[in-house]
């Protein structure tokens, strides 16, 4: 039997029961479509989240006060916790391989100029912040370098902040009040967006020494350390830990998080989320496969006398088996192709309805969807096809 004839014969049988065939292949289509759509959303979200975090550079580690692993209750049990200070930041900056250090302190303050004012986040940072956090300056210049402890009454505005206070006017050289203190505006940042709810564009950047004084803080919120290359991460991490333990009299009362480790675990989590979504979608694929099994099983039952005829005219059991397998695969391939179409249309429709929802259709998942559909058809066809070849031709010919 020629392959084309096999396809044609099986196709004729599928076509003869168009409505039934379409209904049973819709099950597969929904399954494949769901897999494609959900993995597209999963992948899109993964890229989105990773992009959110890599926008601050990847060769960074962050030092925060407190050790998440210790269970001490300082003060009551007499344990001493050492503050994370500007001196710590200064010491870290001297480690070989460290390119830049940004000690950061933060507070909420009212910013006023020209009779207008709004409460925003005030970030106390240093001259290296744009390099470490990958910010660019839109207008003027950033905070001056030099001694970390030196307070200078200059401020840089986030672009939204600038627009709210000054509109289209040039803010450079203007005096603003931040939490009551006078600052001179020396620069405006380029837009950067939000991260974890902080609007980085609706903020004011001042020298860290000023921020600590203004908000009456005696410790830093974080020290961000940029190192030269990814290969150095372990060496720099060890050096930072050693120096800080030394400075804190032998206690490790701080936590170090590397951006790389954070990204890795984030990537892992998002990968699992995508996989879970695909798994849930795959359940509908199984339901679709059951639909095809049922339909093929009924079809064999209805065509007992046809099978008897084919056997009488010399068709081999192998050929009968193939006919029903090909019918089943045909159904599932059509369903799979329709499912790919549904998935793509669904993804496109989602981008129209929810433009903010990140969607990324991976060609790999499209191919995988189709392959799974074909495999589903093969498997679904086996039981009905086996039933077909075990039909006794003599009984079959007398069955109607």
């Amino acid at each position: 039997m020629l392959f084309m004839d096999l396809i044609q014969f099986a196709g004729g049988a599928v076509w003869a029961h168009r409505l039934r065939s379409i209904l049973s292949l819709i099950g597969i289509a929904i399954g494949v479509g769901a897999v494609i759509l959900l993995t597209a959303i999963g992948e899109g979200t993964r890229y989105f989240v990773l992009a959110q975090f890599t926008q601050f550079g990847t060769n960074i580690l962050a030092i925060n006060p407190g050790k998440t692993k210790t269970l001490g209750i300082p003060g009551i049990l007499g344990g001493t916790t050492h503050k994370l200070t500007l001196e710590d930041a200064d010491a870290v900056s001297r480690i070989p391989g460290v390119e830049a250090v940004v000690p950061m302190a933060m507070g909420m303050g009212r910013v006023e100029a020209e009779g207008r004012g709004r409460s925003v986040n005030v970030f106390g940072v240093t001259a290296d912040m744009p390099a470490v956090w990958r910010f660019t300056i839109g207008q003027g210049e950033f905070l001056p370098g030099g001694d970390l402890n030196r307070a200078t009454a200059v401020a840089v505005l986030g672009p939204k902040m600038k627009r709210e206070l000054f509109g289209d006017q040039n803010p450079l050289g203007e005096i603003i009040r931040v939490a009551g203190y006078r600052f001179r505006v020396i620069g405006v940042m380029e837009p950067k967006g939000q991260i974890l709810g902080f609007d980085l564009d609706d903020a004011v950047y001042v020298p860290v020494a000023n921020a600590m004084r203004m908000f009456n803080l005696d410790e830093l919120m974080e020290i961000d350390v940029a190192y030269q290359s990814a290969k150095m991460v372990d060496r720099v991490l060890e050096a930072v830990r050693k120096i800080l333990i030394d400075r804190h009299h032998g206690t490790e009362d701080f936590s170090i998080t590397t951006q790389a480790a954070m990204l890795e675990s984030l990537d892992e989590i998002m990968g699992i989320v995508t996989l879970a979504a695909a798994g849930i979608a795959a359940i509908s694929l199984v339901v679709g496969a059951l639909g095809i099994v049922t339909m093929m099983w009924i079809s064999v039952g209805e065509r007992v006398s046809e099978i008897g005829l084919l056997r009488a005219m010399g068709a081999q059991p192998r050929q009968i088996f193939l006919i029903f397998i090909v019918e089943s695969v045909l159904l599932s391939v059509l369903g799979g192709a329709f499912g790919v179409f549904l998935g793509l249309v669904g993804a496109f429709a989602l981008t129209l309805v929810l433009p903010d929802l990140p969607i990324f259709v991976n060609e790999l998942y499209l191919m995988l969807g189709l392959l799974v559909a074909i495999a589903t058809g093969l498997l679904s066809g086996v039981a009905p096809a086996r039933r077909a070849i075990h039909i006794d031709p003599v009984e079959a010919l007398h069955s109607d």
Partner: protein
């Protein structure tokens, strides 16, 4: 051509053997026209199915063209049916979704004959049974007489040496039954061996020879002048 020696066909039903055929021997020569008659349950169909290689005998040997086919496996029997035996059924067994042409070409599909040749040969065969103008009709668009012509065209498409007909006129009116028998006889006249199972004495009487079955045995063989005289039992 056909040499049946001590053929037994039995089935186990509830541990008890039920005999469909008991010790049947018969030989049929090439070009013969044989009718098989007998009451229901006498083993007519079983005998026809064994001759048609759809059933294997439980005992005895069956030589088809001097080859013992009672020992052949499924695949070899399929091949034998494909190339040597044409079947004609009372209830036609046409595939409803295929046209007359498609139905006639079907045996060639499974023999792996290319489409262009199938088309040509099927058209020719339909022409030879007088259906040249009905090739693209589906079975439900044809009269029962025309359907049986399609079945005959299908049965001869692989140029078999043996034609088996199970009640070929059973579903037809007298007139189209007559026509079908004339068509079959014209094929027999060209040398095709033919075995017909029938209830109809008119049909049986046209054969060269009649085998009368009763209770799993050939109880009577009628031929020559005996054919026209008297009535045929069970027919």
């Amino acid at each position: 051509m056909i040499e049946l020696q001590h053929i037994v066909k039995s089935y186990e039903v509830g541990g008890q053997p039920i005999y469909a055929l008991r010790d049947t021997s018969e030989s049929i020569q090439t070009g013969e026209y044989v009718a098989i008659v007998g009451p229901s349950g006498s083993g007519k169909s079983t005998l026809l199915n064994i001759i048609g290689c759809l059933l294997r005998p439980s005992e005895g040997s069956y030589l088809f063209n001097d080859e013992d086919v009672s020992q052949l496996d499924d695949q070899a029997l399929s091949q034998l049916r494909q190339h040597q035996i044409g079947f004609i059924f009372q209830s036609f067994h046409l595939v409803p979704r295929l046209t007359a042409l498609g139905n006639v070409a079907l045996p060639m599909v499974f023999a792996g004959i290319p489409a262009s040749e199938r088309q040509r040969r099927a058209q020719e065969a339909l022409g030879s049974v007088g259906l040249a103008d009905r090739v693209h009709h589906r079975p439900n668009q044809l009269s029962v007489g025309q359907r049986q012509r399609v079945v005959i065209a299908r049965a001869i498409i692989m140029q078999p040496s043996l034609l088996l007909a199970d009640e070929p006129t059973g579903n037809l009116d007298t007139h189209s039954g007559q026509q079908i028998m004339e068509l079959l006889e014209s094929l027999n006249a060209k040398g095709l061996t033919m075995i017909v199972v029938t209830h109809d004495s008119h049909v049986a009487r046209r054969a060269n020879r009649v085998l009368v079955l009763g209770d799993g045995n050939i109880v009577k063989r009628i031929q020559g002048k005996d054919m026209s005289s008297g009535s045929l039992p069970f027919a």
